[in-house]
Subunit: 403 residues, 2 copies
């Protein structure tokens, strides 16, 4: 098999850990596989460089920031390749440019546009391990760019796609995706397989492991993604196409999102298009509205409730205020003490009664559901924040995820 | 004027010093000049990276070492450019590759083959300060290479040549070239101007400032080189073509080289070509033979004396030994307690009696001259090491270099 292995900052956090990564790669090679390694900067290094830049400017010029930050991954890639060569494993270190990664020109937040895998392929064909500096590429003018947060994962997934690799392993300090957060429910079980779609909905469960951007790219490029730990031999979780998952459980996991705030608009003018106006204004400010609930009161006026991420609440308040001032909304109310708990599973599509079962589990614990939103593979419930852990455990148990 | 300014590791040793460099550049820009800046890695950074590499291997793979080390200069270049932009001075950071520097493929010791200055020129024409990461380039396959010791100076000189810059300023912690080592002769004076040829002969006086490689390149590309301090406003020393120096002093400086050892070959076989054989054998081992003296003894046998750098003495001894074993040389003798003191000056060409005056100065101090070697612009004398300082002061005073 051709395997792309990506090691994050913690996995290459010091020289001994880089040696540990080299040993891992050796093991994979000894099992008969071809390996391409993608590495992040040593943990702390990127933050140090950012602090350096901010010493000179609160808003450092972005092209320079990219050249600066890209050096961190190059150091790790060089060192790992030196270690592999020393172990008698022929290896070559490549920068993003050398690996053929071409991106958009948007410095510090570039998107991968194209990968020319010929240099990597040539080295692989020559029996070499290719070690690529993650997180970076060049734009069409040959300027160094970086890919933003989670960028090395994106490098790895895109490289796996371009090389048509059999597997893309993302190594972190977590050994996979769990049915729910084990800090809340110790009975949480590691998932063996999960579909791209479920993973996207369970984002909070993978938050420390994978960004949605990477899962989306894996889905698009049809890359089999594995998240596993660089500190243990445990098998990780395979994120793959729905078809590749034999037994699809009704519910795969329970996710909790405590960073939501509820916005209540009371007495919204009864005029066609007013809701669209409000949500357009929010969208223009890039505020991510999640669950939306519209109700008509006895007096004929409309109330609209919705949730936004807590850190976007202030912006949302300003926009609501402008509608209140124009007399389009009578009054508004805000509540940050809410949480969103969700059950996710592709099996839901073919199973009736999933939502009902979830509501019953909540009722049995006397937890009031304030808002509900559903999709084909998800049921989300907005509840009072203080019931968060209780709700997670109740759902985890109701759907027998601990079995 | 278009000025290339190069700042070494000490000059960019920490963030405050990088800011100090930015202020220097600003001053030059405010004087109406166009500026290209070439920077080294922050002092200590390159050694840290080498130690990292050596953690994994005593002989780390050289392509990887180049990628590793080149990151140091990139960090400095990015930070300086960020600082300049923040000060309202439009600036762009460039890697060696982006600056168009193409080198040979010999990793860690590459030579600059060609510079395509078009990207730099375009940025300069757009009113930008170009900040180039020194010490590095790419070979024809696009792999990162580094230029070895003194590499950033070479980058600066080569860039100045390619851009036909009016001046190439090398900033260090020393404010120029002195008539002799001020630690030996406190009356030493800073030279205002000196020719390339004199500088090459006075290498030991510039040892802490400039490598001969850079002076040779400056000579070849006809680059006006200035060495000056980044920590003071003092004018430096201009190293330029002989024609650009109006008043050519008879003697420009007194150099002292204490790292020489004397090799004495007694009773060398009287056979044509034997001397050539011996010196060829030394050349094959890359031993730099300096002063050579051949004498014929009363009994008709030949003695040959020569000097070699102290650190090459052991190698030289082995070669001599092989000739002794073959019976080509009767015996050998070695002396490490010698020193070579030299007076250098282009004015010597047109002045008679310079050597005589030097010998008189030595005689007046009762210093025995063991060997003599002269060139058009230099008189070197090998003496007992214990007279080193005395000899330097005597010559410095005899040629009125303190005036």
């Amino acid at each position: 098999m051709l395997i792309v292995q990506k090691f994050g900052g913690t996995s290459v956090g010091d020289l001994d850990r880089i040696q540990n990564v080299a040993n891992r790669v050796q093991k994979t090679v000894n099992e008969g596989h071809q390996v391409v390694v993608v590495v992040s900067a040593m943990s702390g290094e990127t933050n140090k460089l950012i602090a350096y830049a901010e010493h000179f400017s609160a808003t450092p010029s972005v092209a320079e920031v990219d050249m600066l930050l890209s050096s961190g991954e190059r150091v790790t890639a060089s060192l790992l390749s030196i270690a592999l060569n020393e172990m008698g494993l022929p290896s070559i270190a490549m920068t993003g440019r050398q690996a053929g990664i071409v991106t958009t020109s948007r410095h510090t937040k570039a998107r991968i546009e194209n990968i020319d895998p010929s240099s990597m392929q040539k080295a692989i064909n020559a029996g070499k391990i290719v070690v690529v500096a993650g997180f970076q590429g060049v734009n069409e003018e040959g300027m160094v760019t970086t890919l933003g947060r989670g960028g090395s994962d994106l490098s790895a997934v895109a490289i796996a796609g371009a090389l048509k690799a059999d597997l893309c392993e993302i190594y972190t300090d977590v050994d996979g995706i769990y049915t729910t957060d084990p800090r809340i429910e110790p009975k949480a079980k590691k998932l063996e397989r999960i579909s791209y779609e479920e993973m996207l909905e369970l984002a909070s469960l993978g938050a420390k492991v994978l960004q949605n951007r990477s899962v989306e790219m894996a889905k698009k490029l049809n890359v089999n993604l594995v998240t596993r730990s660089s500190f243990s031999e445990a098998e990780g979780t395979l994120i793959t196409k729905e078809e590749n998952i034999m037994e699809q459980p009704v519910v795969s996991g329970v996710a909790l999102d405590r960073n939501q705030a509820r916005v209540s608009l009371v007495g919204v003018t009864d005029r066609p298009g007013i809701a669209a106006e409000i949500f357009n204004a929010l969208a223009l400010e890039e505020i991510n509205v999640d669950v939306i609930l519209q109700t008509v009161a006895h007096d004929g006026t409309t109330n609209i409730d919705f949730t936004v991420p807590t850190n976007e609440l202030e912006n949302a308040k300003n926009i609501v205020k402008s509608f209140v001032e124009k007399g389009e909304i009578k009054s508004s109310d805000y509540n940050e003490s809410i949480a969103k708990v969700s059950i996710v599973g592709v099996g839901m599509k073919s199973h009736a009664g999933v939502a009902a079962k979830a509501f019953s589990a909540m009722a049995a614990e006397n937890i009031n559901i304030r808002m509900i939103s559903t999709s084909e593979i998800k049921v989300s419930m907005v509840i009072e924040d203080k019931y968060s852990e209780l709700a997670v455990r109740a759902l985890h148990s109701a759907f027998e995820l601990d079995k």
